[in-house]
Amino acid sequence: MTFRKYLVLAGVTVFAAAGDSMLSHGMKQAGSISIHHLQGVIVAILNPWVAVGIVLLLAFFASYMNALSWADLTYVLPATSLGYVLLALVAKFALHEQVSPMRWMGIALISGGVSFVAGGPALTSHPHPETQENEEAVVSSAAAGGAKR
């Protein structure tokens, strides 16, 4: 794991949390959308909070795809869940909302889960056979298998 890879995981966490909260803030301003009034969607997209939220969620998606290219799904997903913790901390210290003991317990559980995974390897699945090194590995293991027979 390089510093750059940790930065990508941090991007996954921060962009998801920031994007979701901006969308939620913007949609409360834009009002509810029903099937019968679909033009409400356009009004919602024109809302600057919603627009910035969408851009942030696109950034989340790009960094999520980036992370999945070199790490296991079961390694990346707990990292995304740290976003919930981030949101609760922002609610407490920036927005001065009340965070109930139940939520603090939830934060503790998620943080514990993330630290469990972070201590292990990032990639455990089979390397995909398209890259040069792996092709060589496949060939040599096939040769070894042939020798055994």
Partner: protein, 126 residues
Amino acid sequence: MRSVYTWGGILVVVFFSVVGDVVLARAMKQVGDVHDLWQRYGLWTVIGRTLGNSNFFIGVAAMALAFFSLLFALSWGDVSLVAPAAASLTFIGNAVAAKLFLHEKVDRRRWIAAALVAGGVALLAG
């Protein structure tokens, strides 16, 4: 009867989310390490290889279906039940699916993590 609809909706959301995550994870493994590709061949190669991968589009379509089924489920049940239940069951479902279909080594450490995170998410939104 209403709760049957709500839980049915939650399960549909979880199903599509898990399919989306697993297929996207497979797509990106097929694309290869984005950092390496970017350094060797440039950004356009990364974008071209990603958009040229059919699994990528299947994954995005599954994610879109998950999103729309979440909207339906939310119209049948309370947000405080649907959102955390769907999110935490997706964590468990992903751990199982990653082991079965992506052949990730989901060891005891990762099972515990999935369970802790799923429980934590349920508590946070509850």
